[in-house]
Symmetry: C2
Subunit: 500 residues, 2 copies
């Protein structure tokens, strides 16, 4: 047994080393690599992937997983957890006919480019043929993976968030539809009055950078184990707990953009930095799931970062940096501006309140598309109708409509709902945190350490050694309950918009 | 045969992919990785090295090399060249007893830290014990590697510059000692008169950055296949021709520093960018040798970058950027300041004229140390005496003396002389170039493309598919001749110092 575990750990360490190389190379690609290097880079990454693939599909590795899986009851919990997950992944892989897998991989390697071109040309018809093939694969995939417990779209949903299927999501989105949609309609038809003068100025990048330095300290982000850099689209990228980096993007004509994207990424980064470092060498490092990760980034971006008490403390700092530009803008003006809700077309630019509506629309469509109730060719029409129904606006073209997101071009079905789930988690977590901490007082402090500590102990430290459902239950003493999210949004926006 | 070559190419591609990963990771380490990541990084690099080592020492790989080596006469020249080199490396490796190799690797993994501490403490005695062990290994290594053709220190010299042994270097340094040393004494005892006012100002980094952007254009550096970044010590790092990056370091109180270190690195980078891209997938990519690489960086740094005609064109640009700081500094003042020769302690800070003296001192000492004529414990005394004899100055402490360079702590004996050889190559190359091009006219152009093209055709494009000795001969129609270097220095400095 000890021998078996040792052999497993050796293979795991080898596989991890390839992930590590990929991590550093992809960080370089996203942040600074010169455009001319990518052809060569693609070739080298191909070889490295193959090296890693050979290990992961070797008889030796598969045998070890099989044997350890048989003995999983006798293993320590973390090891048992990762062996169970590895076994599950292998079982799934085995069910995919090799030639179908290869065909699909080739399909995906072209689809993003085709999608990007179609989006640029505002023409869904250019993307439809390849999307049809992707959807066809998804439907076949579901047939291969079907078990007594999981069928249809549930198979895909469960892959992104273990234990979450149409049962849970239907309940969640039904509640949103019933209670939130009418409220959002009311809010977005109400005008928010504040001084908008500050929107007309330019905000020098160098000064914005200084504010980010300040915010990183407030968030207690450990710069010995991370760094902030620029990239086209902000993201967090990490390996274990000792190297978790973030990026942001500065717009001189939109001060709030870099601030909130930085706080969002800092939420992701604090999560990864606060995982128990003992998990670094295991496959249980990093966050528990997409939704749990998103719960942390949105907790900081929206619940913390758009709170009045937070800005009571930090707005003077921002005003001091931009003396002239913000001299006539009060704390209240700023607070209202960063919480204004509007019906818009683009998901990634949506505000906190309307965001889940964008997800709800995608969930409804994906569910029907996978089941065959609707077909690819009808997507633009269905999309535009849903946006009109729920957001009340007319989609001007496919770029601002059905083509806006890359996910389907990547074959990622079942991914979207985790975004809304993450926000819902964060509201439930806030409720639990408030039982233990004086949140309104702590959020006004110069340093968010006590809040971080709570999250570390209840959520972060477990990494992905537990399922998100269990982490949420243990952290909040309750099953997932979307009510907190809806209540949070309605309370917050009722106050901001002075609606009774 | 075709099968054999194909198998070789597959293994070569795998080995290259590991080099590629190491390249990107080490670039990240040197330029931005957070300090806290290095323990984990060391572990991951260890695994990747092992993966690569397993391939390079596999029976399969060794067999293929052996078989191709037997048939090398029938191979295409580039392939024949790399197989010959691979066979040579294997033969050498085989002669090192495994346990000695492991012991030595462990030794080296500690020695740099010990050296750095001793240097910091200005205390050679702290470094002596481990240096003794390193030297002892070098002496044993020589005994293992001895052949009829190569013995003693020659074995080490030949490893850094194939075909260069004590025979060539003795001649070279003898000539330096006889003709250059007395001239340097005369120059360094002469005062150079120019307006030094500009040395008292601060030169804002942002403006220096702008000048580097300008210089990169002048040098015709391809930014689609490279980038300029900052690091503690400037360096060039590349992989193939499609990704060749440089760094520099800005000092606000020393304007010339970043300018000349950038031009130096651009010389290295142009070399690698101009290798025939067909060599990318082979082991003949990159520069031909240390000395040949250094010849290109020094050609641009010293011969081009410190030339009067060069600054006639570009000084106005610099003056425009630093209007106030340079208003009283004439082109002549600037030109004299960047060509002032002084006896100083530190090699890397030495000017063009005194630089080879620093190397000559190291060569004399290394030669005797390896032969056993002198011992490690006597190094500080011998060092200080040589510096007094040749540069006329009293070394104040070991940090500014024998401990200044890291090379010996890395086990790099035979490396130093290539620095001076590089400068000598560059003077010989200049002489040949002047037969074909109107150098003085071209150097005053806004873009150095014609000079780059000449270097590409004569030197760069071959990468390391030919030995440096052969490249030099073919490029200049002559064997290595150090006379050009000495004449170049004496002519240049006689004019600057108005000495007849």
């Amino acid at each position: 047994m000890q021998e078996l575990i040792k052999n497993y750990e050796t293979l795991r360490a080898r596989l991890k080393a390839y992930q590590y190389a990929m991590y550093v190379i992809s960080w370089d690609s996203e942040t600074e690599a010169p455009s001319g290097c990518f052809q060569e880079r693609g070739k080298q990454l191909g070889v490295l992937s193959e090296e890693s693939y050979k290990i992961a599909t070797s008889d030796e590795y598969i045998n070890i997983i099989d044997q350890l899986f048989e003995k999983r009851k006798k293993l320590k919990p973390v090891l048992a957890h990762e062996i169970t997950e590895a076994k599950k992944a292998m079982r799934k892989m085995k069910k995919i006919p090799m030639e179908e897998y290869v065909k699909y991989s080739i399909l995906l390697s072209n689809s993003q480019q085709i999608w990007a071109k179609a989006k640029n040309n505002q023409n869904f018809a250019e993307f439809a043929p390849i999307l049809e093939q992707i959807v066809a694969f998804q439907r076949k995939y579901i047939a291969w993976q079907e078990t007594d417990e999981l069928k249809g779209y549930d198979i895909l949903l469960d892959e992104y968030e273990v234990g979450f299927t149409t049962k849970e999501y239907d309940e969640f989105f039904h509640l949103l539809k019933r209670d939130l949609v009418p409220f959002v309609k009311k809010i977005t038809s109400t005008k928010l009055n504040y001084n908008q003068e500050f929107k007309h100025y330019k905000y020098k990048k160098e000064k914005q950078v200084k504010f980010m330095d300040y915010i990183m300290k407030v968030m207690d982000y450990d710069l010995n184990r991370g760094l902030l850099k620029e990239s086209e689209h902000p993201f967090t990228s990490g390996f274990g707990t000792s190297d978790v980096r973030i990026t942001t993007h500065y717009y001189e004509d939109l001060l709030s953009s870099a601030i909130f994207s930085t706080i969002h990424e800092l939420g992701h980064a604090k999560y990864e930095q606060q995982v128990d470092s003992k998990l670094d060498e295991t496959n249980c490092s990093g966050g528990a799931s997409m939704a749990m990760h998103e719960s942390q980034s949105r907790f900081f971006e929206n619940i913390v970062g758009r709170d009045y008490h937070f800005w009571e403390t930090h707005y003077p700092k921002l005003q001091k940096l931009f003396k002239k530009e913000l001299q006539n803008t009060s704390l209240k003006d700023w607070y209202l501006s960063i919480n204004e809700a509007q019906n818009t077309f683009i998901r990634v630019e949506a505000d906190e309140l309307t965001y889940p509506i964008h997800i709800m629309i995608r969930y409804d469509i994906e569910k029907k598309l996978i089941s065959g109730e609707i077909e690819v060719k009808d997507l633009p029409q269905i999309w535009n109708k849903a946006v009109k129904d729920y957001l009340g606006i007319d989609v001007p073209n496919d770029k601002q409509g059905v083509l806006q997101d890359v996910h389907w071009a990547m074959g990622s079905f079942g991914y979207f709902p985790t975004y809304a789930l993450g926000s819902a988690y964060s509201a439930q977590i806030l409720h639990a945190m408030k039982q233990d901490l004086d949140f309104n007082a702590l959020i006004g402090k110069k340093n968010l350490k006590p809040i971080n500590n709570w999250l570390k102990q209840r959520i972060h430290k477990f990494g992905s050694s537990k399922y998100p459902k269990d982490i949420l239950f243990d952290a909040t003493n309750e099953e997932f309950n979307p009510r907190y999210y809806i209540t949070y949004l309605i309370d917050k926006y009722s106050e901001i918009y002075q609606i009774k």
